[in-house]
Amino acid sequence: MSYIIDRRLNGKKKSTVNRQRFLRRYKAHIKKAVGEAMNSRSITDMDKGERISIPTRDINEPVFTHGPGGHVERVLPGNREFIAGDRIPRQGQQGGGGGSGSGASDSGEGMDEFVFQISQEEFLDFMFEGLRLPNMIKRRLAGNESFQVVRAGISNEGTPGRLNVVRSMRAANARRIALTGSKRRSIRELEKELALEESKDPTLRDQRIIDQLNSKIEELHARIGRVPFLDDFDLKYNLLIRQPKPRSRAVMFCLMDVSGSMNQATKDMAKRFFLLLYLFLQRSYEYTEVVFIRHHTSAKEVDEEEFFYSRETGGTIVSSALKLMRRIMRERYPASEWNIYGAQASDGDNWNDDSSTCHKILIDDIMPQVQYYSYVEITPRDHQALWEEYESVRAVFPDHFAMEQIVDVQDIYPVFRQLFSQKVAA
């Protein structure tokens, strides 16, 4: 007799743990591959999964085997032309063949690299590993947007699915004890009387009393029996209530200089940086908004498309963007409700007397409100006044203000890592 079992609905992910173990073990390799991928990827697929390849020799599991050499006799199938005694000249290094059982599986793969795919989630995990936004997350009760169901004790009402069996049985037991206690006491007394009566000498025994007692006892038993085992009001239910859940939300301000001095390549670098920051914030917050502000001599809030791709020329007044950011913050993103992040990219050009205005706006209005403000200067040249002013801002807010210089696309990811791992050390 055979048993046929449908197991298709059983868990499919039995190997997940083992897979995680594998990734964990080869973390170093994967991180390296992820770092390389960050530099070579186009912006739009920054957050896709990635093919990782690891040299086979690194993941090899060694066992004792025979090496080449010595005297090997091997039986092979499919002879066509050979007869006994034929001599065949050796062909180079073709020593392996399939003769030895242990070698077969290795040579079967025929690849030098062990290649596999990691998912987007895993990719991002590796990408942002070790980076943190230290102690910067404010949480806020955001109205009726999200709830969490929590247990809140026991209730007398509920759906059958929430029935608490133990509590119900306990209540039923208590009720039965309470309702039958006096009757059982009377039974005990009657039984005592009965025993007394029955222990009397047969001549003195009054059968009538015995019958009477017996019928009384019986009646009491019947009444006890009528007390229901489980009554409606015994039923107890687990009470679940919905609790508003604090939700963290963040807004990210992207500020970019689009003046004539910023070319497409520079903007591209800025975009990569913004994107990394966005992906990073998204992992820490349940809800993230982005505000794009572009500026030359005047600033404007735009959508993403326009932010990155339309060009304008003109001079540069950085403070215009900061002023706009300040206004938007006041109007739409009160710091009491939002985690505010600022990211600014520029090539460092600015009207000279504007830089001090920037300094003032940052120190007085923006920095006290934001969680973090990062400034990247994308230029191979020397710093100008803006950099110096910003350096003094950093001196005032060392934990919340960061600035780095980017020269090349290759720098973006390392600079990004540096900006945020610094915080861990601090």
């Binding site: 897979r19 073990r25 004792f64 005297h71 065949i88």
Partner: protein, 525 residues
């Protein structure tokens, strides 16, 4: 092969099914029919448990050597990732079936397969492999089918507990090292006790104490005052070289913690469980293939399956037993399915229609009852002895086998036997030797341990036809070093002469003097 079917005149066709879709009712029906036939043919099996799974679950099963439960280790993850990758890129199809040597015998059917394939798998796994597991002497005496699942659960839980207590890394390191030596964790000749989870747990405590006592004895450092002669007698430990390296480590490694010894033991036990499978691949697959072929052909003869069923079946059957010639790009060693199937099929032929040649080669079996003869061949042999006994000249001719001799002292490779009158015997002996695990794996044994000195362990590799050790040797020694805790030396011997030595850690400056006394064999320069 088709002629078998065309000659039979089907009396009346009452096929079980005509569509290629399977249902649970149909699987049941096929199983019932096949089971009845198997009984007619005298197959003795464990009860069957047939489980239908999906391809993803098949990949899971693949990467855990088919076991329904297994402890966690990165190497299974690696296996899984590579299976998943190859499957998703279409580089490989999944096996149609996995069958586990347990009681009841568990076989997996994949949901994606057609009815024909399901019937094929049932015949192959649930009756072919199953009866082999129950009948073959190696499985009968070396593994305990009824307790393997329980033991696996015990192992999984134990290892999980160790991970909690000592950390994943610690556990992983030990398991890595054990896996490297897994093939050297089996008793080849001594019959082990059947494994049992309950027994294991009960005795764990007992074992801990006992082991500690033994260890203390062995590694006692206070000098023994009873005299110099005794000292001399004890000089070599172990007295006999030990082939089961993991067992030796478990019992005698000086520094292992008790839980680490238990891990060594678990890996060792599993290695022992798989040992018969490694020794009977040709027979096992050949037997299962022979029976799925025989059983399904019989179903056809009795009109229980359609022509379409038979065509589909034959197509996958022939691809299973296809043997690419040695110079084909697909050649990857001798296909065990082909070899085993050919031998069993020919054995039946020899019994039923013996030729003059057969009478000369197999006087005892030519013309005998084929069912009994096949049962005998299945029960009492392993690959090596099976080939040596039953490989017939006809099979050698059909497979066009030939033997080459590759000696690194010669400039040319010599063909020393082909499938002709002069070559049969040598060919057969050589092929059988190829399946001798002893020849396939280097023969490495624990030779001595310096119990009074630096506690170093010395292994000897006895060369087989001067074959040297492979390139991983140093790596494996590092693993052994991790388990042993002290220096490990490995000498490769040709006769009595050491031709190569490996050391872990790499030999330092001041180690040479201390060593030579304990080793009895001259050191190479």
């Amino acid at each position: 092969m088709l002629d078998t079917f065309t000659t039979s005149e089907p009396t009346e066709r009452r096929p079980i099914s005509t569509s290629s879709e399977w249902t649970f009712e149909l699987i049941q029906e096929y199983d019932r029919e096949i089971s009845a036939l198997a009984e007619e043919f005298g197959l003795d099996t464990y009860p069957n448990q047939i489980e239908v799974i999906c391809s993803e679950q098949m990949m899971d099963a693949y990467s855990s050597v088919g076991m329904p439960v297994g402890y966690n280790h990165w190497s299974f993850g690696k296996q899984f990732i590579s299976v998943e990758n190859n499957y998703q890129r279409g580089l490989m199809g999944l096996a149609y079936e996995i069958v586990i040597n347990s009681n009841p015998c568990i076989a997996y059917l994949m949901e994606e397969n057609t009815m024909t394939m399901q019937a094929l798998v049932i015949a192959h796994a649930s009756y072919g492999h199953n009866s082999f597991f129950k009948g073959n002497y190696l499985f009968r005496s070396w593994t305990d089918a009824s307790s393997i699942i329980d033991y696996l659960i015990f192992a999984k839980n134990y290892i999980a507990r160790c991970e909690e207590r000592h950390g994943v890394d610690e556990v992983e390191a030990i398991l890595d090292s054990c896996h490297a030596l897994m093939n050297y964790g089996v008793d080849r000749y001594k019959r082990p006790y059947p494994i049992s989870a309950i027994e294991e747990e009960r005795r764990q405590k007992e074992r801990e104490e006992y082991r500690q006592r033994q260890l203390n004895d062995l590694w006692r450092t206070i000098p023994n005052l009873s005299g110099a002669e005794e000292e001399k007698e004890q000089q070599r430990f172990p007295e006999e070289p030990q082939e089961n390296i993991l067992y030796f480590v478990e019992k005698h490694a000086p520094l292992l913690e008790n839980w680490q010894r238990e891990l060594v033991r678990i890996v060792r036990k599993l290695a022992q469980y798989f040992y018969p499978q490694r020794q009977t691949q040709v027979m096992n697959e050949g037997w299962a293939t022979f029976w799925h072929y025989t059983l399904l052909s019989e179903l056809y003869k009795r009109g229980r399956v359609t022509e379409g069923f038979m065509m589909e079946f034959l197509q996958s059957h022939t691809s299973v037993i296809y043997q690419p010639p040695f110079d084909s790009p697909y050649y990857n060693g001798i296909n065990p399915y082909t070899l085993g199937f050919s031998i069993f099929t020919d054995l039946r032929r020899i019994c039923e229609n013996p030729t003059e040649e057969d009478r000369q080669w197999f006087p005892d079996i030519a013309g005998s009852n084929w069912k009994e003869t096949l049962q005998f061949a299945m029960r009492d042999f392993k690959d090596e002895s099976f080939i040596l006994q039953f490989l017939s000249p006809k099979v050698m001719r059909d497979m066009k086998l030939f033997c080459i001799s590759d000696d690194d002292r010669e400039n040319e490779i010599v063909v020393n036997a082909i499938h002709d009158e002069d070559g049969y015997r040598q060919l057969r002996a050589n092929l059988a030797g190829q399946y001798n695990l002893g020849n396939r794996e280097p023969n490495i044994q624990v030779f001595s341990v310096d119990t009074r000195g630096d506690r170093s362990m010395t292994l000897h590799h006895t060369q087989h036809r001067r074959r040297p050790l492979g390139k991983d040797t140093g790596e494996v020694l590092r693993h052994l070093h991790r388990l042993w805790g002290f220096d490990v030396h490995l000498h490769s011997l040709h006769g009595d002469e050491i031709t190569a030595s490996h050391h872990c850690p790499e030999l330092g400056r001041d180690r040479l003097e201390g060593e030579e006394e304990s080793m009895m064999v001259p050191k190479p320069i």
